[in-house]
């Protein structure tokens, strides 16, 4: 299957999830417990992808780059939390990572 076909199918599935409630569930409430589970799945998958994107290359753990990337992630999280700004965290982490990559 080509990338275009995969993206097309993914878009169709996203559209179905957006449109179905408009057509079928008008006036009904979504159960609170299910809502919470769906949110937890999103958070967990995002964190999982953050870890895989930063520390894995295919099936291999990138042990040489892992310490500086972990440090950059920790700094990004701390700055974002303190400033309440995801962009500030991202910039701080990216700058630190650039500096560490250049030095070592």
């Amino acid at each position: 299957m080509t990338r275009f076909s995969i993206i097309f199918l993914m878009g169709l599935m996203a559209f179905a999830l957006r449109a179905l409630p408009q057509l079928c569930f008008a006036g009904r409430r979504f159960p609170e417990a299910w809502d919470r589970w769906l949110r937890y799945v999103s958070y967990s998958v995002i964190c999982s992808i953050i870890a895989v994107t930063l520390f894995m290359s295919g099936a291999r753990f990138e042990s040489a780059a892992a310490p500086r990337r972990a440090l950059a992630l920790a700094v990004a999280v701390a700055v974002a939390r303190r400033s309440q700004s995801a962009v500030s965290g991202m910039i701080a982490g990216a700058l630190l990572l650039s500096a560490l990559t250049w030095i070592f």
Binding site: R3, I7, A19, A26, L38, A76, G89
Partner: protein
């Protein structure tokens, strides 16, 4: 209120969303270009899927030509959150015909859900008896489109701009560019983190992903993420 006035009202309410979408869409465009996606693919993903977290989730598997089923399941799981959002909006579009409802459903996103939802609730609460007037459906839909369509345009344009920006960076910045999207999402999560359950889920997802991916590079991280979310949710349900 006329169609245009209501649409403009929605546009004004969407300005904070545009401001938030500019850096995230540019970050997405940069990351996608660096992972080898073409401009066509980036724009198609942004315009047709239109979901930042899902686009982030599938970027790696898509760029590495992983099995289509894996990409689709990862995207589907991330987009499941549209179900409760769209369900919550549905009662405010009472009386609107199916075709306009279907057409407008495409611009439902986390941000374009929250702003209209809060606005509609505020307007309903201001009415005697808290009852939504039957003719409000179209007015609400126009407000929603003012928020959703303009935010959508900013998202797609930002993705294209990110692609262009990434082309201008020298290879020495590759490491930092690869960090931009995961760093941004980590920041978003930590800014939004309000409950102990969410913190547990995030930490669990982060820590179990690597053992999961090492055990099975295609599915391990995804199964680990699902298991962590379900476990914390189950513990909360039991009290």
């Amino acid at each position: 209120m006329s169609f245009f006035a209501r649409f403009r009202q929605g546009m004004r309410a969407a300005i904070p969303i545009w401001i938030a979408f500019v850096p995230s869409s540019i970050a997405w465009g940069i990351a996608a270009q660096r992972r080898g996606l073409s401009l066509d693919e980036i724009l198609l993903l942004s315009a047709w899927v239109y979901s930042g977290p899902a686009q982030f989730a599938v970027l790696g598997p898509l760029a590495e030509n992983k099995p289509a089923v894996q990409v689709l399941i990862a995207g589907f799981l991330m987009n499941l959150r549209f179900l409760p959002m769209s369900t919550a909006l549905a009662p405010f579009f009472r009386g609107v015909k199916r075709l306009p409802l279907l057409a407008s459903a495409h611009v439902v996103s986390a941000s374009s859900f929250i702003v209209p939802y809060v606005q509609f609730q505020k307007e309903r609460d201001g009415r005697p008896g808290n009852i939504a007037a039957p003719h409000d459906g179209y007015g609400n839909l126009v407000f929603f489109l003012g928020v959703g369509v303009t935010s959508f345009i900013v998202w797609v344009a930002g993705s294209g701009a990110g692609f262009g920006l990434a082309l201008g960076f020298p290879a020495a910045f590759d490491e930092a560019l690869k960090f931009i999207l995961p760093g941004y999402f980590a920041g978003l999560l930590v800014v939004e983190m309000k409950s102990r359950g969410m913190a547990l889920v995030c930490l669990g997802g982060l820590l179990t992903a690597l053992p999961g991916a090492l055990a099975n590079p295609d599915w391990g991280w995804l199964i680990a993420a699902l298991a962590v979310a379900t476990l914390v949710w189950g513990m909360e349900q039991r009290g």
